[in-house]
């Protein structure tokens, strides 16, 4: 198996699995209970909190564990919007956010907020001047992702954040894809809120976290018990949180080296494709891009077909966001960077991870040209294009 869909989800690191296991079975205590087996679970959660905090340069009490990255995004947007409603009802997001941000913004619009969607350039970059112009006196939150899940473009978050802060507006960044791939320091970036998800960094599915800078006014999304200092109710997913902590610890240790190695593999794959296959377009920023991601448009054919042909040969990649694979529209990210819908439909995201090897890349480069030409043989556009030449 050649797994090149690490932006959709990552395999779990064996060390993560082993750290979690005991908390799934013997150590079943509820962290909220007084006695020793509760205390054990509580201590494990706090240890994990420290590790996740370390991954982004935060203080442990600024980390709230959630049920997924989407919940973190929802909490950030709704929690800030509702808590600051009296000051204003305008929020700003980029047009290439993940659906967890975009659809939450759309929901807020539906219930009476106003949302500005910032455009991006052909590489997917937001212009800080656009943001400056968009901020109004009633703006309460700006949310712009650190790195995009489909094309890997890395936003100038530090700059964007300082533009927001100049105007006294809180700043959230979705770092679900950036975490574990880039060094993140909330102090350096200056952000007030930052979303994370464990299953993108070789941890378990079903756990996320939201960094909330101390002093930031926010409403909970899930009300109830006093867990997470009253900011997120519900009995803690102890095993999941422990796994997240372990994954964060490993990411912090190995990231620097891995990022270089993975970028080399990614470049080799990208170069190889450009050399072997004509009429392809590489999407995303040439430099400011996640080290593991390459998004490529194969003109004249459709992405899902490519994915399935590759899968039948044991190579797993995806068409942009897994979440949008059900809709007919091409990815909103590819549309926002100005691709035509046809080209957008023909795009494939290869996202590498720490378990990939040079063999994986070579195997892909062996299979992919066949798959593409096979599909192009069927395409009315390919034939026509060749005729037109």
């Amino acid at each position: 198996m050649v797994y090149l869909d690490n932006n959709a989800t990552t395999p779990i690191d064996r060390r993560v699995y082993e750290a979690m296991s005991p908390y799934l079975f013997e150590k079943f205590g509820n962290p909220s209970t007084l006695y020793s087996i509760g205390a054990e679970a509580r201590a494990a959660v706090e240890e994990a909190r420290k590790r996740v905090a370390d991954l982004v340069g935060a203080r442990p009490d600024e980390i709230v564990f959630t049920g997924c990255g989407s919940e973190s995004d929802n909490m950030a947007l709704k929690g800030v919007a509702f808590a600051h409603m009296e000051r204003g009802k305008h929020i700003i997001v980029s047009s290439i956010e993940h659906h967890a941000v975009l659809n939450t913004a759309a929901y807020l619009e539906k219930i009476g907020f106003e949302v500005t969607y910032l455009p991006v350039d052909r590489y997917g970059m937001v212009d800080p001047d656009d943001l400056r112009r968009a901020i109004r006196s009633d703006t309460v939150l700006v949310s712009i992702m650190l790195a995009n899940n489909e094309i890997g473009t890395i936003q100038p978050v530090k700059e964007l954040c300082s533009v927001s802060h100049e105007k006294g507006v809180l700043f959230h960044t979705d770092a679900v894809q950036a975490a574990g791939k880039l060094k993140i320091d909330v102090e350096e970036l200056g952000v007030d809120l930052l979303s994370l998800s464990a299953h993108k960094i070789y941890g378990p599915k079903g756990v996320g976290a939201l960094y909330i800078r101390k002093g930031t006014k926010i409403h909970p999304l899930i009300h109830g018990g006093h867990q997470e200092r009253g900011r997120r109710a519900g009995t803690e997913n102890v095993a999941g949180i422990v796994g997240f902590g372990k994954a964060a610890e490993i990411a912090l240790q190995e990231m620097e080296e891995e990022a270089v190695r993975i970028a080399e593999l990614r470049d080799r794959l990208e170069m190889g494709i450009l050399e072997r296959i004509e009429d392809v377009i590489v999407n995303g920023h040439p430099e400011r891009r996640l080290p593991n991601t390459t998004n490529i448009s194969f003109c004249y054919i459709e992405g899902e077909a490519i994915i399935l042909k590759l899968a039948s040969r044991g190579i797993y990649a995806s068409t942009g966001s897994a979440c949008s694979s059900d809709t007919l529209e091409p990815s909103h990210v590819l549309m926002a960077i100005g691709l035509s819908p046809e080209v957008g439909h023909g795009s494939v995201r290869f996202s590498l991870g720490k378990f990939n090897t040079a063999d994986d890349v070579d195997r892909t480069l062996e299979v992919l040209p066949e798959v593409v030409s096979n599909l192009r043989e069927m395409s009315p556009f390919w034939r026509r294009k060749n005729v037109q030449r």
């Binding site: 007919l328 091409p330 819908p341 043989e377 069927m378 395409s379 009315p380 556009f381």
Partner: protein, 129 residues
């Protein structure tokens, strides 16, 4: 998500390609939506004796094209016109709801090809007359 039948047709599509001297060509779909299907037919004595397709689209679109060309080969024009998207989907062992439009496209492709054939024949008759 896909039935084995869909996958089988997608992986080994029948009747791929262009018929250079087709009697009718149906071009349906919209690249904006991600699916374009061109259906070529060859007709002899009111019967579809050959049928081929070219498709830009997802696995369901390709499989729908493939199975449809198989279905109409050897059928009369009248019979071919009776093929519905439901029949196409059934022949594929079902399609997921969000992919049902692919079978519809195949139905429309056949109809368009037959219409094109009729139009040409009419023209030919007029000319011939």
């Amino acid at each position: 998500m896909y039935s084995d039948k869909v996958i089988e047709h997608f992986m080994h599509p029948r009747n791929v390609g262009k018929i250079e001297d087709a009697d009718g060509v149906g071009k349906v779909g919209n690249p904006v939506c991600g699916d374009v299907m061109w259906i070529y037919i060859k007709v002899k004595d009111g019967k579809i004796v050959d049928c081929r397709f070219e498709t830009f689209g997802c696995a369901a679109a390709i499989a729908s094209s493939s199975v449809t060309t198989e279905m109409i080969k050897g059928k009369t024009i009248e019979e071919a016109l009776k093929i519905t998207n439901k029949a196409v989907a059934e022949a594929l062992g079902g399609l997921p709801p969000q992919k049902m439009h692919c079978s519809l496209l195949a139905e429309q492709g056949i109809k368009a090809a037959i219409e094109d054939y009729m139009r040409r024949r009419k023209k030919g008759e007029e000319k011939g007359a």
